[in-house]
Each structure stands twice: as C-alpha cells, then as structure tokens.
C-alpha cells in the first residue's frame, strides 16, 4: 500500500508543468487560484461573495496620506477593476467597505484587507511574527490543501516609501499606487513573478508611472487561464514543451513566445521536470526561444532576473546553458502545439544585466536601470542600450524585435560605468508600429543574449481597463476612472451625449452645459430650411434663429423637440426666402 502511494505521488510529481506566466503551484502541481465555480464551504462569505462570486476586499480607511485619502483608495479600486476588466474572465472583485483602527495582517480573520503600514517606527507585521523592513509591498496568501486560496491580505510600506495617485502628474520620485497594487493583486489571484520585462508581475518596478502600470499580455493570459469564462479556452491556443540538456530536464529555463509583431505574448519558466506550458495565447504565428535566468551572483550588476526573482522555488534554476535561436510555431484556436528544446550546456558568452533608458544624446548620459525602458509611437532618434560586465566590445549587433522600428548601427562603450560594458543603438518608432513589449537581442556569431520584453512601446492612447476609451480623459473627469459612470456608454451629466461622444467632442462629461454640439448642415429650399444638428437621443432641444448677426434678437423657432438619434433634422417652415443664423440649445 505504501509503495502504491509513493508511486502515485512520484507520477504526479512527474506531471508538474510550469504554466505560462508563472503560477504558484503546490507540490502536486495544483495551480494556486480562487475556486470561483465550486465554492469551498470553509470560505467566509465575507471573503468571497457566494451570490456574485466576487472576491471581496476591505480597505483601511486611513490609506496612505491625510490629504489624498480618497484618491489613494480609488487607486486601489482602479487596480482591482483593471484585473476584472480583462475580457473573457470570471474574475470579479467587490469593494466590501472600509476598516478603521489598527490594521494588521491576519489570514484567518475572514477579511481580505489592503492597508498601508506607516507608523514610522515599527516594521513588525502579521501579529509581530514578521519584520518587513526593505519591502515595498507584501501579499500574504492563505491556501487550502488543494492550493485554492482561502484568504489574502496586502500590506504596503508607507514608512519608507512615498506614494502618489495622479497618472498624469509626471511624478518620478514616488511609487504609483495603482501599479504596485496591480502587481500585488496578481499575487492575490495566485501568480508568482514573471520573467517578462514589461509584465506587471516583474519582481520590480521603478518610481513614477512604471511599466507595471497596465496589465501586459502575460497577465491577461494568466487571468484567461486561471479564471476563464465558459468557452473562452477554445478560442485560445496552447503552447507546451520540454526543455532538456542531454535528455536531462532543465529547471528554470525562460520560455518566451514572441508574436508576429515582435511583442512578447507570454513567458514562463520550466519546472523540475523541464516542462512548460503557455496555455492561453491568442492563435497566430510565434517565435519561441529558451533563455537562461541569471545566476544568483553577489555582484548585483551581474544579473537582471534570477530564479529567486521569480519565486524561491526557482532559486536552483539552471543558468548555465546557451540561449537558443527562435523556433517558429503556429498556434491554432483550441489546439496544442509542442515545441521542445534540447539545449547546449555551457556558460553564455555574455548576458544583458542592465538597461539604458532612452536619451537623445548618447554621449551625455549613462543612466543604468534594472527595469524596462519605454518609448512612444513616433519617437525618433533616441538611443537605448544594454549593459553588463561581459558584453562584446566589437563585432556584435544590438537589435530590438518587431515591426515599425528603424535601428542605427551598434555603438560600443567598453567599461562605460563601474565595469559595465555598454552597447547602444539609435531607434526610431514608426507611428504605426505595434505597441507592446519588445526584446533586446545581442548577436555575435552564434552567441546570443536576450532581454525579453524589456522595451515597451506605449500605445498612443492608454486603455488600462480595456473599455475602448482613453484613460487620460476618464482620469481627468472621474475620481475613479474605472467606475460605471466613467464607461464609454455612460452619460453621467444626462446631456444625452455619452462619455465616448463627449471625448470626441472635447467636452466635460460631468457638465451638461459643456457640450458644444455642432450644427452639421443648413439647407434652404422653397418650402423652408432644414437644420441638422448633433444630438443626444432622448434629449430635448430648442432651435433659435435670427436674420442677421448684428442686431436681430434670437427668436425660438417652433416648440422644443426630442431627439431620436445622434443627429436631428429640424424643419423651419418660416425660412423660405433667405439663409438665417441658427442656434440650438439643449434643454434641462
């Protein structure tokens, strides 16, 4: 009996496979997640709403600051809303209200709580069982034995770090609440850190509105895999495979799938059996590669992403193998494509361990960062680059993947700063390039190095909540840009013009007097004049006219009319002789 049990356990271990993105798994390979379909009866209704199947969260009422409390709480709500807005998932969150008084981590108090620790003296949390000095934010997760989640608490460090909320403020010295909470919610739903540079789940994020803000394709795939609506998986494709060296499984190999635009569609790392899965990719053509994580070296400039930066279970990742060239793969909806890699053992000739942010003058600035660089559509002649202690100093090329790019020749700067060699390249982004996460590639003969997803091309219009409306407009006019009243089809000022139309018109969607709807045409005939104007369906309008612009007073023409569509034609029977001036007023 014991033998049988041991055999079964061993077989199950052999089946453990890394998912795309990286999900926290238990020893049996069960993905950590909330079971929103078959509710665990042990979960409190305070934690998970059994009717709506929404994960409930409480917010500490004092937030971070005394002066910006409402916006700080809304930043957290906006982060939840972004995860919930991913099309095709069951993910749902519910603001359960505010909690007051001293808040602490407690994974058995039947409350998912998010709070700032900011008393300025103590770093003790979790009933003084932990000291979080040095941490930006932490998410404590409690799970059942099948690895489904029971309860979660998130603590944000307000003692050592400053936080801000305004997406448009250009603040580069504080941390953007929304981005960090977006990351922590990733842990809250079961994810570990991602090996993809521009992913929200990257282990680190810079101050300011960083690349963790807004969910990447990697997190979207994760949510679609862990929490799919019925039928969604059939529309997605599965890429899987096994990574070996001389037949022996490789743990911790980074697998990156790059779509036809050159953007990273997903990334993951192989588990102990060498297997990986990218299970929720959009169908299409991909290039797939295997690259090593960086060694856990004491020299902090000698690594970019290490095994322990993904999760402690990857601390033993094999880092000594040669990065592969790309393997093409065609993925079909509902299908599975297998790409295995037989790797060559050996220490890579060089790695990319740091990035150079864009600069117009390559000789004036040598800033070194360990987070992705960002560029915008239409940017031209900016220099970006990569560093490491062992980069080639000649006879190599630095390129960036994907469409719509014009790259200059590679510039080498040996020992540019603190023993780091620098390779730079001038880059111009076409206005029609595909936004997304590009990768840096160094090639020298057959030797390769990648920084996967470490260059983000930002879209012209940010749309973090996938509703088709420019977030900048929504953030400007609504305290919570993801709120129902900020949606494209909403009309919170009841002027008959939806937010989407007010965005196009350039008006204030919260002020009914701000709309400047246009008279589209005036047509004079022998029978009268037809005035056609923009209108809000269901709204009432009064048409006025006068004969000349100087002295004649505005006179109402007929009675108010109710618009039936987004354009209304009004017929002025009295105007048969000459063109008149017309004005249309929206009535309350």
């Amino acid at each position: 009996m014991k033998l049988s049990m041991a055999l079964i356990f061993g077989m199950m271990l052999g089946l453990i496979t890394a998912r795309g993105f990286v999900v926290n798994q238990n020893e049996l390979g069960n993905d950590r997640h909330w079971d929103l379909v078959n509710l665990n009866p042990s979960i409190s209704t305070n934690v998970l709403n059994p009717t709506t199947r929404a994960i409930r969260y409480f917010l500490a009422s004092d937030a971070y600051s005394a002066t910006n409390t409402a916006a700080e709480l809304n930043a957290i709500r906006a982060a939840f809303a972004q995860w919930q807005a991913i099309p095709g998932t069951l993910l749902k969150f519910e603001d359960a209200g505010l909690v007051t008084g001293v808040t602490d981590v407690n994974n058995v108090d039947n409350q998912n709580v998010i709070f700032w620790k900011r008393d300025g003296t103590s770093y003790f949390v979790n009933g003084e069982l932990d000291n979080f000095f040095g941490a930006l934010a932490l998410t404590y997760v409690s799970t059942f034995d099948d690895n489904t989640i029971a309860e979660v608490d998130t603590i944000i460090n307000g003692t050592d770090y400053s936080w801000f909320t305004d997406f448009n403020a250009g603040n580069t010295f504080s941390y953007f609440i929304e981005a960090s909470v977006l990351h922590e919610i990733g842990h809250l739903i079961g994810l570990a850190h991602s090996p993809v540079g521009g992913a929200t789940m990257l282990t680190r994020g810079a101050t300011g509105v960083n690349t963790q803000a807004g969910l990447s394709a990697d997190e979207i795939a994760a949510a679609l895999f862990l929490y799919p609506k019925s039928g969604v998986r059939a529309t997605l494709a599965m890429l899987r495979g096994r990574v070996t060296i001389n037949g022996v499984a490789v743990v911790g190999a980074v697998i990156t799938a790059e779509n036809s635009a050159g953007n990273v569609g997903g990334g993951t790392v192989t588990r102990a059996d060498g297997r990986y899965e990218l299970p929720a990719l959009p169908p299409g053509n991909y290039l797939v590669r295997a690259t090593p994580l960086d060694p856990n070296a004491g020299n902090s400039l000698a690594y970019l992403i290490r095994g322990i930066d993904i999760a402690s279970s990857f601390a033993s990742a094999l880092t000594d193998f040669l990065p592969t060239p790309n393997t093409p793969a065609t993925l079909a909806a509902g299908g599975t494509t297998t790409v295995d890699f037989a790797l060559a053992s050996g220490t890579p000739s060089f790695r990319i361990t740091r990035l150079r942010p864009p600069t117009p003058d390559p000789s004036s600035s040598r800033v070194v960062i360990n987070v992705p660089v960002t560029l915008r559509l239409g940017d031209s002649n900016l220099f970006v680059g990569v560093y490491s202690p062992n980069l080639p100093t000649q006879n190599a090329t630095l390129t960036v993947t994907g469409d719509g790019l014009t790259l200059g020749p590679t510039i080498f700067e040996p020992n540019a700063i603190q023993g780091l060699n620098l390779m730079s390249v001038a880059i111009t982004i076409a206005s029609n390039a595909t936004p997304g996460l590009r990768s840096f590639v160094i090639a020298q003969g057959t030797s390769l190095a990648y920084a996967n997803g470490f260059l983000e091309i930002l879209p012209l219009i940010p749309d973090f909540n996938f509703d088709g409306l420019d977030d900048t407009f929504q953030r400007k006019h609504f305290p919570l840009f993801t709120a129902v009243e900020a949606a494209p089809a909403a009309d919170p000022d009841h002027d008959g013009f939806t937010n989407a139309r007010e965005y196009t018109a350039g008006s204030d969607p919260t002020d009914r007097l701000s709309i400047h709807f246009k008279i589209q045409s005036v047509k004079l005939t022998a029978n009268g004049t037809t005035i056609t104007f923009e209108s809000g369906p269901g709204k009432r309008y009064q048409v006025f006219s006068r004969r000349d612009a100087a002295d004649d007073p505005w006179q109402p023409v007929g009675n108010p009319i109710t618009a039936m569509s987004e354009a209304t034609a009004f017929f002025d029977l009295s105007a048969k002789d000459n063109m008149r001036f017309y004005r249309v007023e929206a009535l309350p």
């Binding site: 994974n107 058995v108 069982l129 404590y140 060694p295 020299n299 000789s363």
Partner: protein, 173 residues
Amino acid sequence: MFLMTLPRIIRADQLVPLTIEQLTEHSQLIIHGAVLSRSCQRDLAGRIYTKVELEVSDVWKGALTNRVFTVVHGGGILGDRKATVSNQVEFEIGEEIVAFLVVNWRGESLSLGLAQGKFHVWQDTATQQKFACNPFHGNPAAVANREVLHRPAGSGGSLTLAELKHRVSGGNR
C-alpha cells in the same frame, strides 16, 4: 562649453536590498548557528506561524545565555491550511546560517527584513573556507564554484563568513 557626463545606477526592487551595514544597525541580535528543527502552530489570533530552533555557535551582536535559541516567522502549514508570503525567510534543517534578528514585544526573535535577514553559510570543499549569502549579498555555492561572470574589481561577488563578520563588527562601531 562641454557636456557633463552623469553616470547613475538606479535600482528598483519590490524587495529593496539592505546593505550589510543596514542589517547590522537595525538588528538587535546577530547569531551564527545551525537549524535544528521547525514546527508550525497558531498564535492567539489564529495566525499560522513557524518556530525555528537554532543551535547557536557564536553571537555577533547582542547577548544570549542559551546555546539553543528559537526564532519565529509568519506562515507555514497547519492542518489543511498553508500561509505564505513572497520573500519570506526559509530555514532548512541542518542549514548553517547567520541570522540578523529583531525582537518583538513578546520577546520572540524574528528575521530582519524577511529573507534578507538570513545568510546561508556554505563551505568550499577544496579550500575549506566558509562563505555566506543572502538574496542580495554573496554568491551561493553553485555560482561561486564556477566562473560564470567576469566580475569587475570592487563590484561584489563572493562573501566569506569572516568578511561578513568583519563588516558586522564595523557596522557595530
């Protein structure tokens, strides 16, 4: 007129690296020892936590009367529940460690800065020299035993146990 070159190295981490000097300054107790046992239980509020029993061989900061010493950290497995947090300190049975500890109001000792407060100690089999590493300082055995990277002078790398102790002593002054 000439252009100023302003080199800057900027780091951004979810777990911000603490220097050895910071770890030393903020610790109330720094001990060198080995892990004897681990056990999970609940605190009065029901939280799952882990008790780790250490056999202390040396005290680098603070004072201890007993050779066997207990530290605690949040999380663990108890019954059908598991509690975790990323970057939590982990102790393996038999592991040789240097622990940077703080004391809570109940008098329990815990790791400063989660995983950052524990250095794993390992011995080079060829030279018998001991080395130490935590997530941001020193090389683990797997790295140090091969020349993976060219390391420029003064930019870090392997950290001997003796050097760690020396830096702790310096930080104590």
